[in-house]
Structure formats: C-alpha cells, structure tokens
C-alpha cells in the first residue's frame, strides 16, 4: 500500500513541474523543467513497478529515462536555445496567477471524472489517475494559451506524458513494445516540430503564433 502512496504523492509533483514547464521564461528553461518532470515520471514508474510487481514497468522506466529525461529535452534544448524572440516575452496569453487557478480547477474536475472509473486496477491510484488526465489538459492549455510556437511543443509533450501515465496506471503489464511505440513516435513528433519551428524562425524571424495569420477564412 505504501508503494501506491508514493505513486500518488509523486503525481502531485507532476502538476507542479508541468506548471514550471508552462510558465518558464523561455523555451530552453522549459526544456530543463520538462526533463525534471520526466524524471519524476520515471520515479513514479519505478514506484508503481514496485507496488504492482510489474516487470514491464521497470523496462518502461528505463526507456522513459532514455527518451524523456535525456533525448527529447536534449533535442529541444539544442534546437531552441539559439532561437529567441524578445518581442513576445514569455508568450503567455494569461496572467500567471490565472494559469495556476486554471490548473487547480482542471485538477478538481479530473478528480471528479477519475472517481467515477470503476476499474479494479484504478482503486488505489485514483489521485494519480486524476493527475494524469489533468496533465493532459494542462498540456492542451499550454498550446492554446501560448503565443510562442516553441513552447507550444512542450504542451504536446505534457499531453503525451499524461497519456503515458494513464497507460502505466491502468495497464502496468502492457507489453513493452506498446510503450516503445509511443515513446518513439513522440521523439519523431518533437524532432519534426523543432525542425519546422526553426525553419519558421529562420524564414520569418518570429516565434509568435499571432504573426502566423496570413491564411484565414
């Protein structure tokens, strides 16, 4: 039972780290906080593996460490650190306080939804399940309420972390190949988005999504 307590406790840290990713001053710092969040996620996978006795989850923890803590943040840090558009500041559309309140509201709503899930596997980890869903929606909010196109990429990463956590919580014995498939796809997605974002900056000299409005109607 203690194992599940650790899982639920660590999941709370995921919300904090996702706010750090979203509210960081520039994309390079977001990459650092994203690595931190992924590390917490890996810890959570290890705790969950211990609590459920799932051998697959230990493997997941290892692949997640390689891809999410090292590879993806490194790609983004390298690609984004040379790109800077001072004109848009942090790029946040909403004030910081409002973002935090929004995240709290999302979390409460997700708790309500998670409480209705009747799967036996979800009984002990409902707080973490609610967090995984909230993480998904915080990621979505990061994309919608963000003018900096590079930081929008982190929104996708948060959504992906949320899905990944849900999968681990509800199906800890999922085949390793499933997890590898998701992780690999996420790497390609980040590479393509980083490449496209860099090209937009090189061609248009802006990272502001509001400048990308020549196509309308």
């Amino acid at each position: 039972m203690n194992g599940f307590l650790i899982v639920n406790g660590l999941s709370g840290l995921l919300i904090v780290s996702s706010l750090l990713v979203t509210l960081a001053g520039n994309p390079a710092n977001s990459a650092r906080f994203y690595a931190l969040q992924s590390f917490i996620l890996v810890m959570l996978f290890v705790a969950l593996a211990g609590a459920t006795g799932s051998g697959e989850l230990y493997l997941w923890s290892f692949t997640a460490l390689l891809t999410k803590v090292i590879l993806v943040p490194a790609i983004m840090y390298r690609a984004f650190r040379r790109l800077s558009d001072p004109a848009i500041g942090t790029g946040a559309v909403m004030p910081t306080a409002l973002s935090i309140v929004g995240a709290a509201v999302a979390l409460i709503l997700c708790f309500v939804v998670a409480s209705k899930v009747t799967l036996p596997a979800a009984d002990a980890i409902k707080p973490a399940l609610a967090v995984s869903l909230a993480l998904f929606f915080i990621g979505l909010a990061c994309i919608v309420a963000q003018r900096n196109i590079l930081k929008q990429v982190f929104g996708y990463c948060l959504m992906e972390n949320g899905s990944h956590l849900t999968l681990a919580l509800l199906a800890p014995n999922a085949p390793e190949l499933v997890e590898i498939g998701i992780a690999t796809d996420a790497i390609f997605a980040v590479v393509v988005m980083a490449a496209l974002g860099s090209r937009i900056f090189d061609t248009l000299h802006t990272l502001d999504a509001r400048q990308l409005t020549s196509l309308k109607g």
Binding site: V117, M159, L169, L170, A174, A189
Partner: protein, 544 residues
C-alpha cells in the same frame, strides 16, 4: 470475426515505399558511394522520378494483389496478427494504391513544372519524392494495423510524414500552413492516443493475455465485456482525435490551410486518401463502442458532428475565392456526409458511407489535380483571376467542368450514386429532417460549384493568356481518374460492391449485405440480403 489467413503481402506492401523513402531522404549521406548518376540532385532528377515511379507502381500492384487475396480468402494477417487487412481495411488500401498511383504520376509533370519555374530546387524534388513515398507508407501502415497503438502511431506518423510536403515551397504561407497542420493534428491525435490508451487499459484488465488487448480484432470480440463508461469516454477522445485528422468540424482548422498550400498532387492525396484513412480509425473505434454500449451513443455523436461539418463547410465553401481552399471546404463537407451516413447506421448507411468515401476520394483527387493544371497555366488559385479555362486549356476545362458536376451530385457521375444511397439510408432509418438539412446545405454547395463552372471554366479568358493545355503527362493520369468517376457513376462494378458489402459486414460485426448499386443498375449477379435479385432495383428495394 472470421479467421485470418497468414500472408506475406501486408509486410511486402509496407516495405517497398518505406525503403524508397529512406533511400531518397538519406541519399546525401552516402551518395559518394553510389554511381555517378546520383552525384548531385540536379543531375539525378530523371533518376529520382524513375525511383518514385517504381515506388507508386509497387504500392499499386501490391495493394491490388492484397485486395484480390482479401476478396477471395477473407482477412489476411502477418506478424502475429499485428498487421492485417480485412475487407474494411482493403477499401482504404485500394484508395491508397489507386489514388497514390494517379497523384504520383501527375506529380512528375507538376514537380517538373515547379522545378523549371524556380518554385523549388532539385534538392526539394528529392525531398518531395522521398516524403511522398513515406506518406504512402504511413497511410498503408494505418490501414493495415491491427494493433491499436500502432494504428495511432501510424496516424501520427502520417502528419509527420506529410508536414514537409505541405511546407515544401518554404514561403510564409506554406510554413504557416505546415505549422498549423503539425500542431493541430498532433494535439488532436494526442486525444486519439488517450482514447486508445483507455480502451487498451480497459481490455488489458478484462482479457487474460495483455498482448491480445492491443489487437483490434480481439477487442471487437470482447467488446461486450468492457467498461461502458470508459469506452464512451474513449470514443469521445478517439472521435476528437482521429476526427481532427479526418477534418470533421470543429477540429478542421488545419485542413483548408494545408490543402491549399500543399503542392496540388499532395492536396489530392491529403483530401482523397488521408482524410479517409483517419475515418477508418474512427470506424474501427465505432465498431468497438457499438459492441460495448450499443449504437445509440456513437451514432448521436456522429450525426451531430457530421451535420455540423456539412452545414458550416457548405457556407464557407460558397464564400471562398481561392480555388484550392474552396475544394478543401468541399472535402470537409463530404467527410461530414460520410460521418452522417455512419451516424445513420444500418447496413445501407454503412455501405453508403464507404462507397461515398471511395467516390469522393477519386473525384476530389481529380479536382485538386485539375486545380493544379489551372495553377500551372494561370499561376494563381484566385478564382477572380481564373477565367475561361475551357478556352485557354480545353482538356483541363472539361475535366474541371466534369469534376464540378460530379461533386454537385449530378448523374451520371459517381458522387450521385453514393449520395443517393446516403439519403435513402437516412430516410429508411427515420432521419428525414437531418437528410432535409443535408439536402439544403448541398444546394448551397451546388450553387458554389455552378459559379466555378460559369465564371472560371466558361468565362472570358484574359487576352494576354497563351492558349494551349498542359502536357500529356499531366493530363493522362487525370484522364484515368475521369474515366473512374464516370464509370463508377454508371454502375458500381460487382467486385467493388462485393468489397463494400464485405466491409459493411465487418463494421456491422455480422453478416449483412446491403445492395450497393446505382439506382438504375440492372442486377442479375448482385446478391441482396443473401438472395439473388434480378431486374432493375426500385428505390424501396435499395433501401432494404
């Protein structure tokens, strides 16, 4: 579910375009070790075209071979059932093979023109053909996947594979379109991932072997044992996610931009095939959901979103002045109509949806490529500047006129046959007012299409415009597509109606053989409801 026959064809089908894509995209890293002809992109354009031709020809032949095998043996599978082609998947695989071949052939003339006009350089020609094959591969993977996580990954990969095609020209507008495409679709498909994860997690709890929980065929077999609340939630997520990729309102925002900014053959492929591949995944989730919670919930969602798609897009279609943007909105409208037909349900509704997907695919690919001819001739997509196409480029003008009439749903073109089936299915299932609204919205579209014909195809051509059509290499593949549009309008060939019937059986998860035919088609070979029907089919018989 019927038993699956092991076959080498699904992996063979995938490996060809993947190998070509990897070869072309990584060529700069090892070109020194290759013969002289590959030394530079500029010197190897003809060679690149030949490799591309090999790739699209390979995909076409293998997809037809797999289709024949499915028609004669039932579903085929490979790699421990991770890959499979059932009749439902075969419909979409056939579209990739046929439309991929035609838009691929058309690409040769189109990309040559872009190269000669300086819109792209030789390096971009290599990238174009490389990503074209990669795009085909990702779509083929989506339609041959039985593993639901792989299905999601493949749909996500279609975005990543085609984003560079959308942004090929590197201009402000095309980069903007590519960015919106990637962000909206990736985020959308993340919803698809969540839905997929929910279904899988749920099934992993129910099924003894978690490895089985990942297979769509196993999920359909055990759908009744899944948790209704989770499956409902999963369907909503999947519909939002894969519906984004299919261009369903209100998740369609990426579509007009991407379709209008991409090179025209790619626009044809996006609209004709990619949207349908995403719809296939929606259909696969629909089948699971119906098995768990019944048809009411998913059909209500599909009808609502389908009707909204038809309504909003018809209005936006009418006001557009950009030809390709107009066609993009028409795609949303037709996808909406397919979704309405799925929402109507019943064997006839499902068959109508599948037949309309096929017909729209062929017609829209033809229209986008014809728009490509207009772009080559006039250098613009602005309908206020495109006048008198019939006088300037008679063959292109005729093709555009035919496409417009076909899209407007006039007989004897193919769209009429499937739209007629959609309406019959709707009336048959008691959705009269929804069909009336659809008919109203289609009238707005017809007005817009008539305007294209009256102003742009038949209008007075600019005096400075040189007369003369585009070359035969650009016209020949369009001629083939035009023949298909007409042929399918006169009669649905028996192998195709059999395929659609078998695919309907997969969706209905039980034997059901609706009549798939043009209203005037004389039958003595098509079986309806298990019985041989002879003579002309009346509307009532069709609706049965």
């Amino acid at each position: 579910m019927t038993a699956m026959v092991p076959s080498i064809l699904p992996p063979l089908l995938l490996i060809g375009p993947l190998a070509v894509a990897l070869f072309l995209l990584t060529l700069p890293w090892f070109r020194e070790s290759l013969p002289e002809a590959f030394a530079t992109d500029t010197g190897s354009v003809t060679l690149l075209e030949r490799i591309h031709l090999g790739s699209i020809g390979y995909v076409f032949l293998l997809s037809i071979a797999a289709l024949i095998q499915v028609l004669s043996n039932g579903a085929i599978s490979a790699f421990g059932d991770w890959l499979f082609v059932d009749a439902l998947g075969a419909v979409f695989m056939m579209l990739i093979g046929v439309v991929g071949l035609m838009t691929g052939l058309y690409s040769i003339a189109y990309i040559r023109h872009d190269l000669e006009s300086g819109a792209i350089d030789a390096g971009k020609v290599r990238i174009y053909y490389g990503f074209f094959s990669l795009f085909l591969f990702t779509m083929l993977l989506a339609v041959t996947a039985n593993n639901i996580i792989m299905m999601w990954a493949a749909i996500e990969a279609t975005t990543l594979g085609s984003a560079f095609l959308v942004g090929l020209y590197g201009q402000k507008s095309s980069l903007e379109a590519a960015w919106k495409y990637v962000i909206i679709c990736t985020v959308g498909v993340a919803f698809g991932l969540y839905g997929t994860v929910l279904v899988f997690s749920n099934a992993a709890d129910v099924l003894a072997d978690p490895h089985q929980a990942v297979l769509w065929t196993a999920l359909v077999g055990h759908a009744a044992e899944l948790d209704p609340m989770l499956v409902k939630l999963a369907f909503v997520f999947a519909l939002i996610g894969f519906g984004t990729k299919a261009g369903i309102f209100p998740m369609h925002a990426w579509l007009p931009d991407a379709h209008s900014e991409a090179p025209s053959p790619v626009s044809g492929l996006l609209s004709g095939v990619l949207l349908k591949c995403a719809l296939l995944i929606v259909i696969r989730f629909y089948v699971i959901t119906v098995g768990t919670v019944g048809a009411g919930f998913p059909q209500m969602l599909l009808l609502t979103l389908g009707l909204l798609s038809v309504g909003v897009s018809s209005l936006l279609f009418f006001v557009q002045q950009d030809l390709k943007r107009k066609l993009a909105y028409s795609s949303i409208e037709n996808v909406g109509l397919i979704v309405v037909a799925l929402g109507v349900g019943g064997p006839l509704g499902i068959a109508a949806a599948l037949l309309h997907a096929i017909n729209h695919s062929v017609t829209k690919a033809l229209f986008f490529c014809s728009a490509g001819n207009v772009l080559m001739k006039y250098g613009t997509r602005d309908l206020r500047a495109v006048k008198g196409v019939l006088r300037v480029a008679p063959a292109t003008g005729l093709l555009m006129m035919g496409c417009a009439l076909a899209l407007a749903g006039f007989p004897p073109f193919n769209i009429f046959v499937s739209e007629f089936m959609v309406f019959m299915a709707g009336l048959n299932e008691g959705y009269g007012w929804i069909m009336a609204l659809c008919a109203l919205f289609l009238c707005i579209t017809i007005a817009g299409l008539v305007k294209i014909v009256a102003d742009s195809v038949l209008g007075k051509s600019p005096e400075t415009m040189a007369k003369g059509d585009v070359g035969w290499k650009a016209l020949a593949p369009l001629g083939v597509l035009a023949v298909l549009v007409l042929t399918l309008g006169f009669a649905v060939p028996q192998p195709l109606s059999t395929l659609v019937q078998q695919a309907t059986t997969v969706v209905m998860n039980g034997d059901s053989r609706p009549v798939v035919a043009a209203p005037w088609q004389t039958y003595d070979t098509v079986r309806a409801g298990g019985q041989l029907v002879t003579g002309s089919l009346s509307q009532t018989e069709i609706s049965k």
